[in-house]
Amino acid sequence: MWKKIYAWLDERLGLQEMYTSILDRPEPKGNWWNTLGSASLFLFLLQGATGIFLTVYYTPSPDHAYDSIQYIMESVAFGWLIRGIHHWGATLMVLVVFIHMLRVYITASYKYPRELTWLIGVGLLITTLGMGFTGYLLPWNQRAFWATTVGTQIAGSVPFIGNFILKALRGGPDLSALTLQRFFSAHIWMLPAILAALIGVHLYLIIKHGESHFPTEED
């Protein structure tokens, strides 16, 4: 019965083919450092899932942001767990993505034909840092407020166009409801969309070229 259903689906979707090319592809002999890309992907999905759950209660408005988070932490069942995972997962993701980059650099995996995989990876690192920067403001506590004041001020120190960048980031000259709203929008829509698209291309390139083997003495 199940075999028949599977055969019917496989014939139309090519499940076996997908499995072979994505999960059962040949790998060079590697070690645990080669798993950091998958770990980054897992953390991205974990942050996505816990983030979606947080939006059920979080309200991106100066009047409600702080109180809504207090509510998640104290009154919602397992709210502390879901926010805790999102909080620590964010730090862990930056760390894992960065070590992943170091591994690629040390094993020289960025060389031909994988230059584009590396460049897209740089985009992924920057976007991940952007997620951290925008997410940091959302609790709307003192630390969040002043960290974003300083962060946008630094962006504003660019010669000639600095003031424009500062106003574009803050949605005006001051940190306001507009800043919170646009950071929230960037954090849950724009940056995740960019991350998802870049991850798609990154994974395609990895499957296309296969993983690089470690350099030997001859290399």
């Binding site: 759950f53 209660y57 509510y71 919602v76 069942a77 397992f78 709210g79 879901i82």
Partner: protein, 168 residues
């Protein structure tokens, strides 16, 4: 190796995967569902009895006005709403009490007692209600609502802060 009393290695792996998988599913699933339905499981705080006063302080034959505030908590927001009404004692008897709401059944304005005409008057459309809350004239579709009450042993009058609509 594969004696009839022993589990094959393949079956063991299948079973332990199923058990471990169910455990992981429960560890993730229960918090997720609990998180989503948490507000639905909260106890409704409104409806706790409100003390109006002692019967010895409430006159007979004349409506005695009172008001109280109910604070509702929704998430992190507290909303205080004030309610009001009149205690009407027709005689000394503890059972002979009527607790009316002052909310006009037309558009929720607060009615006042007018001693000269012996009627409740709504300030919005000049509707009149009798001492028992019956509509005498004006647009209201129903008599004034009333509150359920209890008289405690020491004479303290307590009401349930939930307006009960009366039949026209």
């Amino acid at each position: 190796m594969s004696g009839s009393r022993h589990m094959s290695r393949r079956d063991f792996v299948k079973l332990s995967t199923a058990i471990l998988g169910s455990f992981i599913g429960a560890v993730i699933g229960i918090p997720a569902i609990g998180y989503l339905i948490a507000p639905a499981l909260r106890e409704d705080k409104a409806g706790k009895p409100v003390v109006i006063g002692n019967l010895k302080d409430i006159p007979i034959g004349k409506p005695f006005p009172f008001s109280f505030t109910v604070t509702k908590v929704n998430g992190w927001e507290r909303t205080a709403s004030s309610f009001g009404g009149f205690v009407i004692r027709k005689s000394e008897a503890k059972e002979d009490i009527l607790v009316l709401s002052s909310r006009c059944t037309h558009l929720s304005c607060r009615v006042n007692w007018e001693e000269n005409r012996q009627v409740f008057v709504c300030p919005c459309h000049d509707a009149n209600f009798s001492l028992e809350g019956k509509v005498l004239n004006g647009p209201p579709p129903a008599p004034l609502g009333k509150f359920e009450y209890q008289v405690q042993d020491d004479g303290t009058l307590v009401i349930i802060p939930l307006e009960v609509l009366q039949e026209a």
